[in-house]
C-alpha cells in the first residue's frame, strides 16, 4: 500500500460511515481516486469494490482521472444562468481549447461546471481553485484565460 494512503487510513477504523470521508481525504491527497487506492480502501473498509465505486460515482465530487494544476469551475447557478453563465463557459472553453469536463494537455487547467458556489449576488462567477472571480464578462475571461494571461 502506498505510504500516503496508509497514513490517511491510520486515522480511521474502517467503519462504513467513514467511507465518504476517506474518499474525500484520498482525493484531497492524490487529486483523484486512483484504481489501486480504491482497491486498498475496499480491503480496509471491507466494502466490496463494486459497492465502493457505486458510492464514489454517485457523488459529483469524486473523480477517477487526474486533474489539472488549476481547477476552473464555472458556476451554473440560477443567478449566473440568467446573467449569461453559458457565454462565460463558452469563452473559457475557447481560450483554454478544452470542453467542460476536460483537462488541457499540459495539465495546467481542468474545466468543470458546478451547480452553485453561493456567490450569486456577484454573478456570473467562476471559481478557480479556492478563489472566486466575480462579475465575469467575456472581456474578463480573455484577461484571465487568454494567451499570456495564464497563471
Amino acid at each position: 500500500m502506498d505510504e500516503r494512503l496508509s497514513a490517511i487510513l491510520s486515522s480511521y477504523e474502517g467503519r462504513k460511515d467513514e467511507l465518504i470521508p476517506i474518499l474525500q481525504q484520498v482525493q484531497g491527497a492524490y487529486g483523484y481516486l486512483p484504481n489501486q487506492e480504491m482497491r486498498d480502501i475496499s480491503q480496509f473498509t471491507r466494502v466490496p469494490e463494486s459497492r465502493l465505486y457505486g458510492v464514489a460515482t454517485f457523488y459529483a465530487q469524486f473523480r477517477f482521472t487526474p486533474i489539472g494544476r488549476n481547477h476552473v469551475m464555472v458556476c451554473r447557478g440560477t443567478a449566473c444562468h440568467v446573467r449569461g453563465a453559458q457565454r462565460i463557459l463558452e469563452e473559457i472553453e475557447k481560450h483554454l481549447g478544452i470542453k467542460e469536463g476536460e483537462t488541457t494537455p499540459d495539465g495546467e487547467y481542468s474545466l468543470e461546471t458546478v451547480a452553485c458556489i453561493g456567490a450569486c449576488s456577484l454573478s456570473p462567477c467562476v471559481m478557480i481553485n479556492r478563489d472566486v472571480q466575480a462579475r465575469m464578462t467575456p472581456k474578463k475571461v480573455a484577461q484571465f484565460y487568454g494567451k499570456g494571461a495564464r497563471i
Binding site: Q24, V55, L122
Partner: protein, 629 residues
C-alpha cells in the same frame, strides 16, 4: 460552571466595549465569500499595510457579510465621537484614501459613504438603516453578520451569545418545546413544517440514542443564506444546536455542510473547537450533566442529499438515495434511531427564541408564518444581496424597495422562489405576501430562500429547461417517474428551445409533470416539475411563441435568433469578421460586411464585437429575418 461562563462573558463584554470605545479607530472589513470574490482581501491587505507604514494605531477586523453584496467590498470605520460609517465598493485605492483622509485626518469622505450607524449624524451621509435597502428589513438571524468577528467566541458572548443556552439549561426540555411552539417557528429549509411538532415526534419516539442533524447542504442554485450565516456568525448555529439537542434528548449531532463552501467549513471547525474549550460543547455542558457532541460531515456534491432520508444514507456511507416514509426520520432515522434534521436558519432561530422569548420572535410575521426570513435576492435586480424581512412582506417590496428594481430600466418578468423545487411568479402577482401558504397558492414554495429576479431578457422556456436540466442530472434514479420523466420532459423542452417543438408538447409536459409529481418518493421528484408547470401556467404565450410562431420573444434561444448587418450603419471595420468563429462574415475593410446565414451558428459574437457607437449588427427573430431578406 454557568458562573464561570458569566465571568468570561463579563471579560468579553469589557473587551468589546474597549474595542468600540474609540481609543483606537475600529475598522471592519467584510471578508465572507462574496466579499472575497469582489476583492476584499486586497482591501484588507492595503488597510493593514497602509496603517502599519503610517504607524497608525487602529484595530482592523475581518467580519462576515452585512448583506449588501451589490456594493462589496464593504468597509466600516468607527472613529468616535463619529458614528460607524459604512463604505461600499472599496478598492485598494479608496482604502488608501480612507486612511489618509479619515483615519489620519478627519474627513469622513461622505461621497464614498453608504451610511452611518449610531446616534450621531454626519452631514451628507444618510443613516444606513434608513436607506431604502435596509429600511424594510428586520435583521435578526443576520443581526451579528458583519458586526462580530466570526472567528471569536468572545465577540459572540459579548453580544449575549449563548445566553439562550444558559437559559435553556435551566428549563425543562418540555418547556423549551413549548416555547418553540408558542413562537410559531416553521422549518426554514423549505417545506415549512412546524418545528415543535417535528421535535415532539422525535421526543415521543422510543430509542436509547437520538440524533440531531443540521442540514447545511444548501444545494439550491441561487441561494446562499446558510453560507452567510455560517461564515458570519457560526456560533449562533452551534448555540441553536445545543439547545435543540437538549430539548430532544439527543447527545450526538452532525452538521452536513457542502464541500463547495470551504470558508464556511473552516469557520465551523474553529467555532466547534472554541465552544468545546469554553465547555459549551462536549461532556457535561456547563456542569449541567448534559453531553452533546457535534461532528462535521462534508457533503460530496449531490443535490438530493438535501432530502432527509438521502442525507441520512449519505452520512451512513451509502449512495444518497431516499427511502419511503413512514417511518419518518423523527421515529427511525440515522442508524435506525430517532433523528431530527433541521435547517441552519431554523436552528439559528431557536437560539434567538431562547435568547429572547417566543412573543418577541412572533412580533413579526403573519397568522401562520411567524418571524423573519432571510432571502438571497439575486438575478436581474439592482441591489442584489442577502436580505432578512418580516414574513408577510410583499414580493414587490422586496424587489423594488429593497432591491431597487430592475437594472437598465428593463421590464420585470418573473421572480423565481424556492430553487429547482419552486416556481416562477409573474408580474401581476407581485403583491403576493411572502409567507408559506401564499407562495404555495401561487404555485411556488418559500423554499430555503433563493429569490432570482428575471427581466424581459429572460426566456421562461429556457429557464424551465435550465431547471429540468439540473433536476434531471441530480435525480438519484430510484423512482422511475423521476428518473425517466424528468429526462423526457427535458427532451421536450430542448426540442421547443431548438425549434423542434410541436403544438401538443405543452399539454404533454403538463401531463408528464403531474405524473412525475405523483410517482416520486422524495421531495426532488415531487417538486422537480414545478418550474415547468408554473412557467406554463403563467407564460404559456412564450411556449406558444416558440412552437407556433417560431420565435423566442426574449431573444435567448439561439435557434430563433438571427444576426444581420445593417448596411446603412456598417463602417466596414472588420471587427465582427475577426470575432466570428465560423468565418461567416465577408467584406473588405471600409466596405459593408455581410453575414453568410448558411454558415452562421447564431453565437452572437459579431453582435458583441460591433462597437456600441456603430451598432450595425442587428439581432432579429427568424420571421423578421426572412421577411427582410
Amino acid at each position: 460552571m454557568i458562573e464561570k461562563l458569566e465571568e468570561k462573558r463579563q471579560q468579553a463584554k469589557a473587551a468589546w466595549e474597549a474595542l468600540h470605545s474609540g481609543r483606537q479607530p475600529l475598522v471592519l472589513v467584510g471578508t465572507a465569500t462574496c466579499g472575497r470574490a469582489a476583492g476584499s482581501l486586497e482591501v484588507l491587505e492595503t488597510l493593514r499595510k497602509g496603517s502599519q507604514s503610517r504607524k497608525l494605531d487602529c484595530n482592523i477586523i475581518e467580519v462576515g457579510c452585512i448583506g449588501l453584496c451589490y456594493t462589496e467590498p464593504i468597509v466600516s470605520i468607527l472613529k468616535p465621537p463619529n458614528p460607524t460609517i459604512y463604505y461600499g465598493d472599496v478598492t485598494p485605492k479608496k482604502a488608501t484614501n480612507l486612511i489618509e483622509a479619515y483615519l489620519l485626518n478627519d474627513d469622513p469622505l461622505p461621497d464614498d459613504a453608504l451610511g452611518t450607524v449610531g446616534d450621531r449624524r454626519i452631514d451628507g451621509i444618510p443613516q444606513l438603516y434608513h436607506t431604502p435597502v435596509l429600511k424594510p428589513q428586520v435583521r435578526r438571524v443576520l443581526r451579528n453578520c458583519g458586526i462580530v468577528d466570526p472567528t471569536s467566541i468572545d465577540h459572540y458572548l459579548a453580544v449575549s451569545g449563548y445566553s439562550g443556552l444558559t437559559k435553556a439549561l435551566e428549563m425543562s426540555p418540555e418547556r423549551i418545546v413549548e416555547e418553540v411552539k408558542r413562537s410559531g417557528l416553521r422549518g426554514r429549509g423549505g417545506a415549512g413544517f412546524p418545528t415543535w411538532q417535528k421535535w415532539t415526534f422525535c421526543r415521543n419516539a422510543e430509542g436509547d440514542r437520538k440524533y440531531l442533524i443540521c442540514n447545511a447542504d444548501e444545494g439550491d442554485p441561487g441561494a446562499f443564506m446558510n453560507r452567510s450565516v455560517i461564515e458570519g456568525d457560526p456560533h449562533s448555529l452551534l448555540e441553536g444546536m445545543v439547545i435543540a439537542g437538549y430539548a430532544l434528548g439527543a447527545n450526538d449531532a452532525y452538521i452536513y455542510c457542502r464541500a463547495e463552501y470551504p470558508l464556511a467549513l473552516e469557520r465551523l471547525r474553529l467555532a466547534l473547537e472554541q465552544a468545546e474549550a469554553y465547555g459549551l460543547l462536549g461532556d457535561d455542558i456547563l456542569g449541567c450533566g448534559f453531553d452533546f457532541h457535534i461532528k462535521i460531515k462534508e457533503g460530496a456534491g449531490a443535490f438530493v442529499c438535501g432530502e432527509e432520508t438521502a442525507l441520512i444514507a449519505s452520512i451512513e456511507g451509502d449512495r444518497g438515495m431516499p427511502r419511503p416514509r413512514p417511518p419518518f426520520p423523527a421515529v427511525a432515522g440515522l442508524w435506525g434511531k430517532p433523528t431530527i434534521i433541521n435547517n441552519v436558519e431554523t436552528l439559528a432561530s431557536v437560539a434567538l427564541i431562547l435568547q429572547n422569548d417566543a412573543d418577541w420572535f412572533a412580533q413579526y410575521g403573519t397568522e401562520n408564518s411567524k418571524g423573519t426570513k432571510t432571502f438571497a435576492l439575486v438575478g436581474k435586480v439592482k441591489r442584489s444581496g442577502l436580505v432578512e424581512v418580516p414574513l408577510g412582506i410583499t414580493l414587490r417590496e422586496i424587489i423594488y424597495d429593497i432591491g431597487g428594481g430592475i437594472p437598465e430600466n428593463k421590464a420585470f418578468k418573473a421572480v423565481q422562489t424556492g430553487g429547482p423545487s419552486g416556481g416562477c411568479i409573474p408580474a401581476d402577482l407581485l403583491d403576493t405576501p411572502v409567507d408559506y401558504d401564499s407562495l404555495r397558492a401561487a404555485g411556488s414554495i418559500m423554499g430555503s430562500g433563493g429569490m432570482v429576479v428575471m427581466d424581459e431578457d429572460t426566456c421562461m422556456v429556457d429557464v424551465a429547461r435550465y431547471f429540468l436540466d439540473f433536476t434531471q442530472k441530480e435525480s438519484c434514479g430510484k423512482c422511475t417517474p423521476c428518473r425517466l420523466g424528468t429526462k423526457q420532459m427535458l427532451t421536450i423542452l430542448k426540442d421547443i428551445t431548438e425549434k423542434r417543438g410541436k403544438p401538443e408538447d405543452i399539454d404533454l409536459l403538463v401531463n408528464l409533470g403531474e405524473g412525475v409529481k405523483a410517482g416520486s418518493l422524495c421531495g426532488l421528484g415531487q417538486t422537480a416539475p414545478n418550474p415547468v408547470l408554473t412557467t406554463i401556467r403563467y407564460f404559456r404565450d412564450e411556449y406558444e411563441a416558440h412552437i407556433v410562431e417560431e420565435r423566442c420573444p426574449s431573444m435567448v434561444c439561439r435557434a430563433f435568433v438571427y444576426y444581420r448587418v445593417i448596411p446603412e450603419l456598417c463602417v466596414g471595420c472588420r471587427l465582427c469578421a475577426k470575432a466570428c468563429p465560423q468565418e461567416a462574415i465577408q467584406g473588405e475593410l471600409k466596405k459593408v460586411h455581410v453575414i453568410d446565414q448558411s454558415r452562421c451558428i447564431h453565437c452572437g459574437m459579431c453582435f458583441e464585437a460591433c462597437p456600441p457607437k456603430v451598432h450595425a449588427v442587428a439581432r432579429v427573430s427568424g420571421k423578421e429575418m426572412f421577411a427582410t431578406v
